[in-house]
């Protein structure tokens, strides 16, 4: 349970802008699970809604809204589809636009795949990127496999085991976000 009067803020980022993306159902499922937690606020961040140049990098193309959201955040949840074992380029472009906003904040990844591995390969590929950004990765992941069959037409998840899995993921992420907030705000660098 967070020990600060300020609620934790953990936005959920949809990491793809593709038409027909299944990651949107995953993101909404995860976001509802976050919303159910006391003392935690969340918000959906959709890369499709953020206009950034892909011919430049850094703060010159920073989206002010994205920067403010991550600045306020204590942690992030990235919902990332696996495209040919990799992460979407647009997500990487977006992540690279800011710097200080990430430092010593928790991040968890929910991998999404059409096949049986639940995005394990894109998660592994993304970990060193997040480390370099200054984020602190947790050791629980969300693995949404066979995603084309995982949600009904209204976006409701069909496999109840994911409720328990995301519960474990969020417990770890919230613990890490709580500890890191305390550290950022109270523990000086030696």
């Amino acid at each position: 349970m967070p020990d600060s009067p300020r609620p934790l803020f953990i936005p959920v980022v949809i990491g793809t802008a593709r038409q027909g993306r299944a990651s949107e159902d995953v993101a909404r499922f995860v976001m509802e699970a976050v919303r159910a937690r006391p003392g935690v606020e969340t918000q959906l961040v959709d890369v499709r809604e953020i206009r950034i140049s892909v011919t430049d990098a850094g703060e010159s193309i920073e989206d002010a809204g994205f920067g403010r959201t991550v600045l306020r955040a204590d942690g992030l949840i990235l919902v990332v589809p696996e495209y040919n074992h990799g992460y979407p380029g647009l997500l990487k472009c977006l992540l690279d636009t800011i710097r200080k906003e990430y430092i010593h904040k928790a991040v968890g990844i929910c991998g999404v795949s059409a096949g049986p591995w639940g995005g394990t390969r894109v998660i592994e590929n993304l970990l060193p990127v997040l480390r370099e950004l200054g984020l602190v990765t947790i050791f629980w992941d969300g693995n949404f496999a066979n995603v084309g069959k995982l949600f009904d037409a209204k976006g409701a998840i069909l496999d109840a085991t994911y409720e328990r899995r995301i519960d474990k993921f969020l417990k770890e992420l919230i613990w890490m976000a709580t500890v890191l907030r305390h550290g950022r705000e109270n523990v000086p660098l030696p």
């Binding site: 600045l71 200080k100 906003e101 705000e185 000086p188 660098l189």
Partner: protein, 62 residues
């Protein structure tokens, strides 16, 4: 250039906590003047506010 270690939060005026340093090899704007040849980059330090959670970044003091 030497800088004061304590940073005051621009949002609420509280004393911020210096909790991280990071080496930037692609400094932006005024940070470029703080290039450290020994580290081959600009050493940045990061401060967070215990009152409102704001964060600040600046070239490190040393």
């Amino acid at each position: 250039m030497a800088q004061e270690r304590t940073v005051t939060c621009p949002g609420c005026g509280a004393a911020m906590n210096r909790h991280a340093e990071k080496l930037a090899h692609d400094p932006r704007g005024e940070s470029a003047s703080a290039w450290d040849a020994a580290l081959d980059g600009v050493l940045l330090e990061f401060h967070s506010c215990p009152q409102c959670g704001a964060m600040e970044e600046r070239p490190a003091r040393d």
